[in-house]
């Protein structure tokens, strides 16, 4: 295996591009790029966490965006009630997501296959409607975040570049964490359970509890992405956990490449950049994007990362 295979090259270029983006945005005088890519990076964190359970663990959650919502509501509600310290808000976002993941995971992991897909959707929808019912916090409209999380002068989230780099650092940390995780003993159990659950039991693994822990870890990371999202948009609303948002996350992971460390990032960049670019060309951009997705599924197994990996052999 050559060190500079096409796949590695793309990843290196992508990472370098992400690192240098604020400079480019500055030089080119288009700060909107920074906004666009901050959003992409945040959603890539969420997609990477989904990849942990879906790509590596075979647990297809159709309700993963619920943690985006829980994370952002934790920040939003704290801010609304006058608690503006990020040292309180963010741990709370993480803890709330972990707790929710623990509860729905404990119930959902009893089911398999498409039933698992649908039960996770059901729980996410319930959370969505609970959020709509939160009259004090804007109900269906959501609420404007009066001020971003404060970190006692450590970092100013209102500084767009600083905020971008914080998100980027957290993305890299997440990718690294997931990579270490899947190559640890724990990761082997999770992947083994995806590959052959029955055999895992036969050789003596209590699969359920490992899966549950994995499910909670993924939910927790995504909750953090939710806290970032609230700070990014200065706005919190139930829309963040609507099922279509969960679908977007799945599409990013599948498009980029499942069970690949950088797949979700590639998928997030590809999907959102594609949306932005196509919608610049025509108002009817979805008529191009739709068949494109279909073709990728039909002729490119393993997503974009899969194509890159195959091109290496060619």
């Amino acid at each position: 295996m050559t060190v500079l295979s096409l796949r590695n090259l793309v990843v290196v270029v992508l990472l370098a591009g992400l690192l240098l983006l604020p400079i480019y945005a500055q030089v080119a005088g288009s700060p909107f790029l920074l906004t666009l890519f901050t959003r992409i990076v945040i959603l890539a964190i969420a997609a990477t966490s989904l990849n942990l359970i879906m790509g590596y663990g075979g647990m297809v959650s159709f309700g993963h965006a619920v943690y985006l919502g829980i994370g952002s509501y934790a920040v939003g509600i704290c801010a609304f009630e006058g608690v503006e310290s990020g040292f309180v808000q963010w741990p709370l976002a993480i803890a709330a997501s972990a707790l929710f993941a623990l509860v729905i995971g404990a119930l959902s992991l009893r089911t398999r296959g498409v039933y698992f897909i649908m039960i996770t959707l059901a729980f996410a929808q319930m959370a969505y409607y609970v959020a709509i019912g939160l009259d004090r916090y804007g109900g269906d409209d959501g609420m404007i975040l009066e001020a971003r999380s404060r970190f006692a002068g450590l970092i100013n989230l209102n500084d767009k570049t600083a905020f971008y780099y914080l998100c980027l650092a957290l993305l890299f940390a997440t990718i690294f964490l997931v990579w270490r995780l899947v190559n640890s003993r724990f990761g082997m159990v999770i992947q083994g359970a995806r590959s052959n659950e029955r055999r895992m039991r036969a050789i003596g693994f209590p699969v359920y509890r490992y899966r549950l822990v994995c499910f909670v870890i993924a939910g927790t990371i995504c909750g953090l992405a939710g806290a970032l999202l609230a700070n990014f948009t200065d706005f919190v609303s139930p829309a963040a956990m609507h099922w279509t948002r969960s679908g977007d996350l799945i599409i990013m992971v599948v498009l980029g490449g499942m069970a690949s460390p950088f797949g979700p990032l590639i998928g997030a960049v590809a999907l959102l950049a594609l949306e932005e670019a196509l919608s610049g060309i025509t108002e009817y951009w979805q008529i191009i994007l739709g068949p494109m997705l279909l073709l990728i599924v039909l002729f490119a197994r393993g997503g974009i990362d899969g194509i890159l990996a195959r091109l290496r052999h060619a």
Partner: protein, 305 residues
Amino acid sequence: MLLFIEQCLNGLQLGLLLFLLAAGLTLIFGIMDLVNLAHGSFYMLGAYFAATFAVMTDSFVLAALLAMLATLVVGMAVEVIAMRRLYGRDHLDHVLATFGLILFFNEFVRLAWGPEGRNIPLPSWLNTSIELLPGVPYSAYRLSIIVVALAVAFLLYLIVMRTRLGMLIRAGASNREMIGALGVNIKLLYTLIFGVGAALAGLAGLMQGAILTAQIGMGENILILAFVVIIIGGIGSIRGAFIASIMVGLIDTVGRSYLPEFFKLALSNEAAATAGPAMSSMLIYLLMALVLVVRPEGLFPAGGR
């Protein structure tokens, strides 16, 4: 009491409409093991076709029949062009591919029919109300939906339980390899099932379209409900889909009408008015989660019979 009966009727109507959609979905899922998110697109196409044919033919019934035929053709074409390449693939591939189809069909309709939606004009004999219970007029058209859907359910029951085709369908839903062993032209059978499923979705769409008008994206929200139905009922089971759709229809409608009052007992008026609708929208998901916690493969798993 009369109101309660009326609400049950409303719920029954919604449930039966869901059944039309869910029947095809559960068969396609059960037999071809295909997760078809684009099923809602056929629902939408059915409504748009009916709107166009109604203007052309000036007859609602004729338009409905033509629209079903048209969705049947579109469904079979989609199967031949795209879907059959997806059999045996991962469910996630299905999700991504059929999501792409949704985008395509939505934009296609927007290009072909424009963004503003279409009205499906009803004949005057349907556009009235009938006094079903003393003092309670009920929409004749909603009543006709109940009748048509029940007729379709009965017809499906006859086909599935009494014919050779039905035997193949039942065999396929519980054990996919078996149909191949019986020496049947599977490709044709699959195309046919997919087309019929699409036509049923089209029927549901045009029936609902006459109340709600044909709209872009009208299929997506009801699609999730249809998935809830087939999961509760058990994938591949027509009987399960029937029972589950009526359950979902009743719970949704009755919950929507009484839950807010119920909340008023505990909460302030305004909080109840907001929390009530939110909670009643949650009910069906609560139902599905409960069913799955107790019976992880739905109420009537097709393999279990």
